[in-house]
């Protein structure tokens, strides 16, 4: 059984700003545990000689030269914004100065 319980799910939901009911937490705890278990089967296939990777292709140093490319106009940048004011995105005040 995977090490994911109802408290973990509640914690993740809070971090992800997702409101979840008691029933949803119960259900997700079970479903996520199954998913995590399934993913864990990968580590059974990979032996000690297979290093952990974060990318499927063995590439390194994919760089871009420091040359200015394209930009949006403010109108384009804001075209999908739910709300805007004076060419800036307008968002609800959030009580957290960081």
């Amino acid at each position: 059984m995977a090490a994911i319980n109802r408290d973990d799910v509640a914690h993740l939901a809070r971090l992800a700003h997702i409101e979840m009911s008691a029933e949803e937490l119960d259900r997700m705890a079970v479903e996520l545990a199954v998913i995590v278990d399934s993913v864990k089967s990968v580590s059974e296939a990979a032996g000690e000689d297979v290093p952990a990777t974060s990318h499927p292709i063995p590439l390194t140093n994919v760089f871009r030269e420091d040359v200015v490319g394209h930009t949006f106009t403010a109108e384009q940048a804001l075209s999908g914004a739910p709300d805007a004011y004076e060419n800036r995105f307008k968002v609800p005040a959030i009580l957290d100065e960081d």
Binding site: V68, A93, E97
Partner: protein
């Protein structure tokens, strides 16, 4: 807002030992952003230096800016760090409108530079070694402006406006190891450390290093422990202390505040504090909590950075002389005293003096002009001495005019004023203002005859060998020539005239 109790700094120091730590964010001055080709420019119209990557649109791919990686390696080398042969980027997940992707691309357990140090020289020459834990690459966030409520503060704000021009600007975050043993010099060391980092990144040319623009930003960690205790106390982290003076003040204030908390028997709360320049104090931000669970994981959209030793050595070879070493070298070469050299550095004319010497002036002549004449005029004009408009060539030319006896020192300062007034080169101004020392003996002899005739008793004294009386005659001649005579030549002519051997 309640005012926190504080102890006097002296009392705090008697009872407690401060431990410091700094996170300094340096904005790189690359032409483009860390992961997108949008321009990295300060002060443009909101949301015009952005593209789909900076706005965190779905399906976009970041690409690493090679120059930003090279700048990061240079910073690491200048901080005496080891450079990772292999490192990756990581996602730091959090929800806040300054980061449209809902994560900041940063580095977590694989910083590009680590295990360095910086020797910090305090004002009295004491050298204090600050150990560097790491320097890692990341991206800046957008800029929020809080509207409504009380004067731009978030408390009571109705909404916030977001400009993503700064989003994705390359940052290097430099983290120190805990700094112990600074004692009562902690505030001074704090200021000197941030000043040294700023000077280094400016000298490397990798950042504009303007603190007032947020190019260099400091978060200061402070904790106190009773003298003799090994274990660290609980720390506070004061955010965005954005001037050198504020760094010193903030550390001093937090030491005084912590001391009062500990004295009252309460534990210090581990929290973020906000610095207020107006009251020179900090207020509570937020306590460390679940929200600090950033769930870092390797960035799947970027491949690892491999810094071959050849590449690192190539970059090392491009590093300029470190500022502290350069100062030491110049001071020795110029033969200035400690005080003279410190004055030169504080006046901001070290570079100008170096250029002036390179242009042909002696070290003393260069210092005499910059410190004696130009610094004062720059202060009056409220500009940097180097921006006043005096070139090294002007000083060399002025000095030559004096040494050749064409003008005297007093006239030279008038010529300098003429140069600053845009009247031309020193030689042209001497000509135009008619400032040349009178060297034609004809007018001098006339003036000497007149002066001797006016003071026959003095003339008699000189004849009888009382040479010190000559001053009165020289004075008369200088007056008659309105100061334009060469006093040495006048003296010679008087003695000649009276048939006296000097």
């Amino acid at each position: 807002m309640s005012v926190d109790a504080t102890l006097s700094f002296e009392e705090a120091m008697e009872k407690y030992d401060p431990v410091l730590g700094f996170e300094v964010h340096v904005e790189l001055n690359t032409k483009t952003k860390m992961f997108s080709s949008a321009p990295n420019v300060f002060g443009d119209e909101p949301n015009t230096n952005v593209n789909e990557v900076d706005l965190g649109m779905p399906g976009v791919l970041p690409v690493v800016n090679k120059t930003a990686v090279e700048s990061s390696i240079k910073i690491g080398l200048a901080l005496n760090c080891k450079i990772a042969e292999y490192c990756r980027f990581a996602r730091k997940n959090y929800f806040y409108p300054d980061t449209p992707k809902n994560f900041q691309t940063s580095q977590y357990d694989e910083p590009i530079a680590y295990d360095g140090y910086l020797d910090i020289e305090l004002e009295d020459g004491t050298v204090f070694r600050v150990e560097i834990e790491r320097a890692h690459m990341e991206e800046d966030a957008g800029k929020l402006t809080h509207m409504g409520g009380s004067a731009g503060r978030i408390q009571g704000a109705d909404y916030s406006l977001v400009d993503y021009n700064r989003s994705g600007v390359p940052l290097v975050e430099i983290v120190t190891k805990p700094i112990q043993g600074a004692g009562s010099r902690a505030p001074e060391l704090a200021k000197a450390y941030v000043a040294a980092v700023r000077e280094i990144v400016k000298n490397l040319g990798v950042s504009d290093a303007k603190m007032e623009r947020g190019n260099v930003r400091c978060d200061a960690n402070v904790s106190l422990r009773p003298h003799g205790q090994e274990r660290f106390g609980i720390r506070s982290e004061t955010k965005n202390v954005n001037s050198l003076r504020a760094v010193e003040h903030a550390v001093r204030y937090e030491i005084q505040r912590h001391a009062a908390v500990l004295d009252s028997g309460q534990p210090v709360i581990q929290e973020t504090r906000h610095w207020h320049e107006d009251t020179r104090s900090t207020t509570s931000g937020r306590a460390k909590s679940d929200a600090d669970d950033y769930r870092y994981f390797p960035e799947p959209d970027l491949v690892p950075v491999v810094a071959s030793r050849e590449w690192v050595e190539e970059l090392r070879a491009t590093l300029p002389e470190p500022p502290a070493e350069r100062r030491k070298r110049l001071k020795e070469a110029w033969g200035y005293s400690d005080l003279e050299f410190r004055d030169v550095v504080n006046a901001g004319v070290m570079d100008s003096i170096e250029e002036t010497i390179a242009a042909g002036a002696s070290a003393d002549v260069a210092r005499k002009w910059w410190m004696g004449e130009i610094v004062g005029r720059a202060k009056v004009a409220d500009v940097d001495p180097s921006a006043l408009g005096v070139t090294p060539q002007v000083i060399v030319e002025l000095n030559k005019l004096v040494e050749d006896g064409k003008i005297n020192n007093k006239m030279a300062t008038q010529v300098l004023d003429g140069v600053l007034a845009g009247e031309g080169t020193p030689a042209e101004i001497v000509e135009k203002r008619g400032l040349a020392v009178v060297s034609d003996d004809g007018p001098l002899l006339e003036a000497i005859d007149a002066a001797l005739a006016a003071q026959p008793d003095v003339a008699e004294k000189i004849r009888s060998g009382k040479l010190q009386a000559i001053g009165a005659i020289v004075g008369g001649v200088m007056k008659a020539t309105r100061g334009q005579a060469d006093a040495g030549r006048v003296k010679e002519l008087i003695l000649e005239k009276l048939g006296v051997q000097a």
